[in-house]
């Protein structure tokens, strides 16, 4: 029963959504719309579940003084401070939550992301060696695109952005399309496997 019921729900939900897409019948459309609303409501609870889960996992480590417990404690404290302040005063402009978000969370996340520039520069210097014919082509292409995507490149040679656009629109797209089509076919196949009950890993087992 624990396996059959989720499979039956997945089958019915998926089947109805597919039929509703192809058959414009009002009762069916109403039902599929209700299902979509239901997804957003259930999703709200999964967010809550995520918070409970992260708290449980980290509290255990802190209690046992496990590896890097200090960071876990910091995580718990910041999670609680942000959550409680948002419940009490809200999240709008002028609130404690908003101040912490604007002045702490957003700069910290942007800083983490911007560190990529340093590591990319270092990695590019080490990795981009014209060792083979293919590596040389990649190297030349990357230099053209890097220069063509900045004002300085255009300043040095006004036609450089045209070549960059050509690279993006043809060789790049030939590869990108293959990836997109492959991923879409994979997603369709996976969806079908879930609807038909062949794929059951979403229940936590194979």
């Amino acid at each position: 029963m624990r396996t059959q019921l989720p499979v039956a729900i997945a089958f019915l939900s998926g089947f109805i959504m597919v039929i509703a897409f192809f058959v414009p019948e009002s009762n069916l459309e109403n039902f599929s719309q209700n299902l979509l609303t239901f997804v957003t409501i259930v999703g709200g609870f999964t967010l809550l579940l995520g918070i409970v889960s992260i708290l449980r996992a980290n509290i255990q480590v802190v209690k046992k003084r496990g590896k890097e417990w200090g960071f876990k404690l910091l995580l718990i404290l910041t999670l609680l401070i942000m959550s409680i302040s948002s419940f009490i005063w809200g999240t709008h402009e002028g609130t404690v939550y908003h101040w912490m978000f604007q002045n702490m969370q957003a700069p910290m996340m942007s800083t983490m992301f911007s560190l990529l520039a340093f590591f990319i520069a270092s990695a590019a210097y080490r990795a981009f060696r014209a060792r083979t014919k293919e590596a040389t082509i990649l190297l030349i292409t990357s230099v053209i695109v890097m220069l063509g995507r900045i004002p300085l490149g255009q300043f040095l040679w006004s036609r450089l952005p045209e070549y960059t656009d050509w690279i993006m629109a043809y060789p790049n797209l030939a590869v990108q399309r293959g990836i997109i089509i492959g991923a879409a076919l994979g997603a369709a196949a996976m969806s079908l496997r879930i609807i038909l009950g062949i794929e059951r890993t979403y229940m936590g087992r194979g």
Binding site: A106, R149, P151
Partner: protein, 275 residues
């Protein structure tokens, strides 16, 4: 080993701390001493600008804030530029986000600031729907009825009490979709909303996402595209409202040039040492 070959060998193994130092300086100095390099506009940015420019006064545009705070330097200027363009043209705007982490706060800030600049009235000129979990369900559900998915707006008003939302029931009442995103949601806006409901759309995405989005541009599923900070700077230029993205172009130029210089040095070292 003679001194020349030693130098070329060293060129291949520059300590990464020096690279970090140079990159840091290249990011910092142009912000203090701007170069003001001339900025060209790519056709994809111009197409997006023209699509918005050609909308009639009073049209309705859905503007999304589908990005995390980590990419704010690239994406937030796009949101500012887009919203300023829309409000300047007296286009009515519905904003929303499908991202749970931080996007709601960013959206509130941007929308309130720009609405204040253009003296726009909430509920009539713009509505902020806020965030709702499950972007696939949200995108599909709004195609039939927006109020099914968002019964209330971000400020807990009932949608039926807002004059703008009394006119806008679903995508049929929206004239254009402007997505600003740093993740795969843009693919779903294309495949679910543009493809299934025929809503014309354009997008502003981070530089790493732009190569993928070119395929949607070429097929006509997107009318225009802003790629990374340069795309944002181009839109700022087109809307004659130069801001953070334009200022960010100088550091980006110098950093790109510096990376190329390091790559060339490394290759010179590699080839000379090989001989």
């Amino acid at each position: 080993m003679n001194s020349a070959s030693e130098i070329f060998s060293k060129l291949q193994h520059i300590d990464r701390r020096y690279i970090f130092l140079f990159i840091g300086m290249a990011a910092f100095l142009p912000l203090i001493f701007p170069l003001g390099l001339p900025l060209g506009v790519t056709p994809s940015s111009e197409d997006l600008f023209n699509a918005v420019e050609n909308l009639e006064e009073g049209s309705v545009v859905m503007l999304t804030f589908d990005y995390y705070p980590s990419t704010l330097p690239e994406t937030e200027p796009m949101s500012y530029a887009a919203l300023r363009h829309l409000f300047r043209k007296n286009i009515r705007v519905i904003t929303l986000t499908t991202i749970p982490l931080g996007a709601l706060s960013v959206m509130e800030g941007v929308v309130k600031n720009v609405a204040r600049e253009y003296n726009k009235e909430y509920g009539t000129d713009y509505v902020n729907l806020g965030y709702k979990y499950g972007y696939v369900a949200v995108m599909l559900g709004m195609g039939r009825k927006i109020s099914d998915i968002f019964p209330r707006d971000n400020y807990d008003n009932k949608l039926e009490d807002l004059p703008l939302m009394q006119e806008v029931k679903n995508y049929d009442d929206v004239d254009f979709l402007f997505v600003v995103s740093d993740n795969a949601t843009v693919d779903y806006w294309v495949s679910l909303v543009n493809a299934q409901f025929g809503l014309p759309m354009g997008a502003g995405v981070t530089a790493v996402m732009a190569p993928k989005c070119y395929s949607f541009l070429q097929t006509g599923q997107m009318v225009g595209l802003l790629g990374g900070m340069k795309g944002a700077a181009e839109y700022e230029k087109l809307t004659q409202n130069q801001g953070r993205a334009t200022r960010g172009m100088d550091p980006q130029s110098i950093i790109h040039l510096l990376i190329i210089a390091f790559i060339i040095l490394g290759n010179i070292g590699y080839f000379v040492s090989k001989r």
